[in-house]
Symmetry: C2
Subunit: 464 residues, 2 copies
Amino acid sequence: MTTPSIPTGHTPQRPRIVIIGCGFGGLEAARALQGAAVDVTLVDKTNHHLFQPLLYQVATAGLSAPAIAAPIRHLFRRQSNVTTLLGEVTCIDVARRDVHLADGSHLPYDHLIVAAGATHSYFGRDDWAAYAPGLKTLDDAFEIRRRVLLAFEAAEKEPDPARRADWLNFVVVGAGPTGVEMAGTLAEIARHTLPGEFRHIDPASAKIILLEGGARVLQAMPEALSQRAKEQLEKLGVDVRLNARVTAIDAQGLRVESASPAQPSNPNSYQINSKCIVWAAGVAASPLGRHLAEATGATTDRAGRVVVAPDLALPGHPEISVIGDLAAAKSHRPGHEPTPVPGVSPGAKQMGRATAANILRRLAGQPTQPFRYRDYGNLATIGRNSAVVDLTSPAGPVRFSGYFAWLFWLFAHVYFLIGFRNRLVVLLDWAWAYWSFARYARVVTGIEGGPHQPPAPSSAKPPG
Amino acid sequence: MTTPSIPTGHTPQRPRIVIIGCGFGGLEAARALQGAAVDVTLVDKTNHHLFQPLLYQVATAGLSAPAIAAPIRHLFRRQSNVTTLLGEVTCIDVARRDVHLADGSHLPYDHLIVAAGATHSYFGRDDWAAYAPGLKTLDDAFEIRRRVLLAFEAAEKEPDPARRADWLNFVVVGAGPTGVEMAGTLAEIARHTLPGEFRHIDPASAKIILLEGGARVLQAMPEALSQRAKEQLEKLGVDVRLNARVTAIDAQGLRVESASPAQPSNPNSYQINSKCIVWAAGVAASPLGRHLAEATGATTDRAGRVVVAPDLALPGHPEISVIGDLAAAKSHRPGHEPTPVPGVSPGAKQMGRATAANILRRLAGQPTQPFRYRDYGNLATIGRNSAVVDLTSPAGPVRFSGYFAWLFWLFAHVYFLIGFRNRLVVLLDWAWAYWSFARYARVVTGIEGGPHQPPAPSSAKPPG
């Protein structure tokens, strides 16, 4: 072995636990190991834990990045059995129990927790990524913020009315929670934030189009709440188009096939010109899932997630657990058939805690326990003053929408934000935005020659 | 003329005033034209006005970018005679009175205010820029933040003690206000913010070296305050080296020639290994200055600033004014010799207001007035609890340093921040940072393949 091994500071007698990824799952697993006689190494590609449920607010200039991102090593400064490393995992050597990093170093483990999450998927059309960025990382959020704000700037400068209208067409593909939040907030920006600031365009004339391939928005929600969400979106001025499938995306816009439920075999195909498209349609598990499956003989599902045993470990490899969005896990409720765990943050957090507990059981020579997911419900916000809430309670589901649902959503999200300071700042920002309609984080950087350069106003004009 | 003219919404009878740049000078000029029967077009390369005096706080993760950057068109939303444009000026056609933008459009003017500011200068050694970024824009600040935070991350992973020490050498070149603030804050981060968060390095062992070619720090300050500032820096743990001239910078670090005042002709030459160098040594005027001088026959000084007439217009071109860091202007106090205006924000703001007033005089057929700079004093902060203040008062100078100087500096800066919300957030951030020692904006993005990719930990190892 010639590659340098990173000094992980472990004393030889303590089991070494390596956690890949510090999303909700990895973070909770590391926290749940607090005080245990183990050495934990937490490795992540970035230096921060990201509160993804509010990422759309960074993309729409409502929050600054530091408000929803906490430095990982700061979070673990007082948990002395955790070593934080910034690094990218390139390979897991299952036989040698060793994780390889991109910088050539490696991390030997006694137990491995893989919590590498998911990224957006273009269903095999990766060429669409350049025209329709997704929203998973802070860099994605900055890129979308840049495109949205620069589209209005370009429209203000555009003398040709047809081209000007193209700049003011905003399309969101996919009406899951992220797509609904994005579309609702874009409508709010166009109708409430920007009017009065431009001299040649009326920002309120911008069209926000939400395309959904399925028959309703927020498909994880009960049908009645989907209907309410659609109504609230339309009240905000969003053009919601259901059963609308995207067949092509390029620099001019996108091609849509819209099937009416009555005639699904005879779709209507049309073009939407747009310079600002947001992709919220699909997720795929990290490539580490397939890599792991190949190395261990585990199977992956269609989305690339690794099928795990009831205790979240890999079949035949009790020393490797997979959790969060990377795992195709089931909830095991005694006396019931196992049910799939949804890809939401409470699921990842519960898997993190359950895995940590199972590792400690295994180290103590006790049998592991099957994972059971506790579903507390489902929330989604649509925009100013509107949200839908579907809570699970022993007395049956509690469902409501509108202003109180929005307040409930807001406080639930602020409550779960990491760090007291962030909570305070986010509440303050929200209160300010609520009363003033202003969005303060309208900073666009890297306008000249950045990596995510949007199509420049001049070059984006059609030839001729 | 085949290039499209941007519709600037002016009515033909109203004089068209174009302002290039929305720093302190351009912003104040546009504001001072409020209510006047003129059409103002304000063009800037970015979409935000930047409060540069606090930029070092963004670079050192103490503030988020939106806290010190306000969207320009939001600032002018209620001033209906101002049109804001995002664009880069490529050429000024003095004969046709027309400003050309990079996107091919152009802006005809009756009066032009050029407030394009300055950038950092490497004194002809532009190859140093890759190893020693300066601090003028938000992108610069993000780049420095990234290098500082990633240097500690790389040190944590580095098994070789000598290389580890190199990662923990931070060098600031130039001991003007920015250099002093950067060095003081880096020392604060190393001594107070990061300790306890790493497992293999002691961040407090980091060396912060401040190199100054001259004989004292903060040369614009009286000598006694320079001495106090140096003592306060040293108390914070900064290694201040005066009469130290940088002769080379590369990926390994820098070469320094240090002359003792006793033997200036026999300098001592030595190497400092460092992966994180901040350039705070020199500024040069925007290239637009030289372009304008060539077109009008005006002269530029050694720093590329345009020498202006007493009323801030160009000699022979009363329709063009140059203000702020781009102008080599003099203050005309009746009965005194003209004195140079210092390159500080109060100077730029006063020039902005004076120029607006002179344009209105000219439009009214009245003679313009010579510019007079009112000097209220000079502030500089060094770090936690320490600053130096030199106030000008009718009763003579008021000079103090230490904790009260720091409080004075803080409130003066928060007071001048644009926008009530920003002031509140900055105060809150400061209070939080003060009591917790934490710096919350420790977000590094674009780690993989960004434009400002710092030398990667692995590739930065010396060969062999």
